[in-house]
Amino acid sequence: MSIVTIERKVLEKNDELALQNREVFQRHGLFVVNIVSSPGSGKTSILEQTLEHLKNKLHIAVIEGDVQTDFDAQRVAKFNVPVVQIVTNGGCHLDAKLVQDALASINLDGIKLLIIENVGNLVCPANYDLGENVKVVVASTTEGDDKPLKYPTMFRNASALLINKIDLLPYINCNLTELKTNALKINPKLKVFETSCTTKQGIAEWCTWLEKQV
């Protein structure tokens, strides 16, 4: 036997492309958010609320990632912001290459905030750096309070947690304190917001925080 020692990151190719994306973002003075959650937690709904709230204050562009369809891009396009849909055709996450390709079709001049909605999946997107400044994780009350313990990686790498569908709390078995405690044990630095896209609770606070990061 002979042994070749190589010591490399398995995802080094993605990391290199993410670094290139990061350079592009910096050159344009862009702040980039990568939104992740399980399918249906409310990423697009939060995005809609955020655009509604911030689009007159900030120039925003959006990249949508989905396994199939451009439904989410259509929802975002109603706000008259530049939006590109990435369809992964079965792929369970966005990677830096897909984002790089999508960037080619957005005019970034003047844009201050780029929001990337990742594919609905709490596991796979965690390993793929896109070049973003922050990851934001959305967990909805209907998913239960144990999500942070089941999918710790996503919560550990995120800067903010939006506990969405807070309006549904009276109807379901979700211990909000437990959910928050679990999330903060995984990541004590997590900034936590309680939001509802139906009652708009917490949306202003979240947008204020986001605007401050930019």
Binding site: M1, S2, I3, V4, T5, I6, E7, R8, K9, V10, L11, E12, K13, N14, G91, C92, H93, D95, V123, C124, A126, N127, Y128, L149, P152, T153, M154, R156, L184, K185, I186, N187, P188, K189
Partner: protein, 120 residues
Amino acid sequence: MHELSIAQNIVEIIHKHIPEAEWEKVASVHLKIGKVAGVVSDSLDFSFQAITAETSLRNTRLEVESIPFRVLCNACGVTTENEVGFTVCSECGSGNTKVLSGSELDITEIEIAEPAVKIS
């Protein structure tokens, strides 16, 4: 199933670092995978075997070393390990900690089988 895309990355790294004439002889690939890297070793193995089955890497095995999730507490100075991935110190509860390991997804060594009898 991002294990499939991770397996593809492993194949690419082997192809990049080992001359094509030796691919048939790659016996194993050594990986370090952190406890909280979000990668399931069995799925990775399954994916790797599936995509290499009919290729020159069909005899290659993945050897995975699992790396514990370890946290050093800046408050009490104790290093602890836990399975879940709690970043708060399990000794004193402080959030002022540093993660020492557990997120690795590294390829460390490629082992090449030499011919059994060497003609010298």
